[in-house]
């Protein structure tokens, strides 16, 4: 690999590692589960992808498919993990309500399932938004 490849790969590696570090800082500093998940899923995946791309430039051709496969799998699995963890965080009330500007799901849940939320949920809707006044 020539000098140009080395420079490209070094920049990619350092940027990816910096994204990983930023994601770690976000994971420590953010106030609730959902925002921590935001830091952990997006910045982390971007960091992994950049590091993998930077490493592909430096590895022999036979070893590159494994690295690319790692990047592809993390690109596929990170949204699924984020979706499921965020969904469960919402349903188990791990969301800091004061941070939420707009909660469209609460109104929909009250519409669909009645004012008590999900079945078997003994917690009242007092921490959710009031139901919309105009019935649909």
């Amino acid at each position: 690999m020539g000098l140009l490849g080395d420079v490209i790969s070094g920049v990619l590696l350092l940027t990816g590692a910096a994204f990983c570090l930023v994601s770690g800082i976000g994971l420590v500093r953010f106030p609730d589960t959902v925002s921590r998940l935001h830091a952990a899923s997006k910045a982390q995946t971007l960091g992994l992808l950049l590091v993998v791309l930077g490493a592909v430039f430096q590895t022999p051709l036979g070893k590159a498919p494994a690295l690319l496969l790692v990047g592809a799998f993390s690109l596929l699995t990170a949204p699924v993990t984020g979706h499921i963890v965020a969904r469960i965080a919402y349903r188990t009330d791990a969301v800091e309500r004061r941070q939420v500007v707009l909660d469209e799901l609460a109104a929909r849940l009250i519409d669909e399932r009645g004012p008590n939320g999900r079945e078997g949920d003994e917690r009242g809707p007092e921490d959710r938004e009031p139901p919309p006044t105009s019935g649909t």
Binding site: L13, A18, A40, A66, I88
Partner: protein, 88 residues
Amino acid sequence: MIAVANIALALVSLAALLVVGRLAAGPGALDRVVALDALVTLIVVGAVLGTLARSDTTTGYVLVVLALLGFVGSIASSRLIERREDMR
């Protein structure tokens, strides 16, 4: 290139230290799931950087297995947490 990989490895290690702090402190079980998922990703990143720093390409497909295991583990444990909350 080895020096660059070592610097990047230091950054990633610092990030892993922060994530371990969150793993110890995280108030809920879901926080720990998120932190563990991030930690697995950081381990994969560190292994890639380590192969570059030592110019030793023996890890290969182990990293793919590790990434998939992290995915399956975090999905399974979060489903388990959901079920536990249901029974409460």
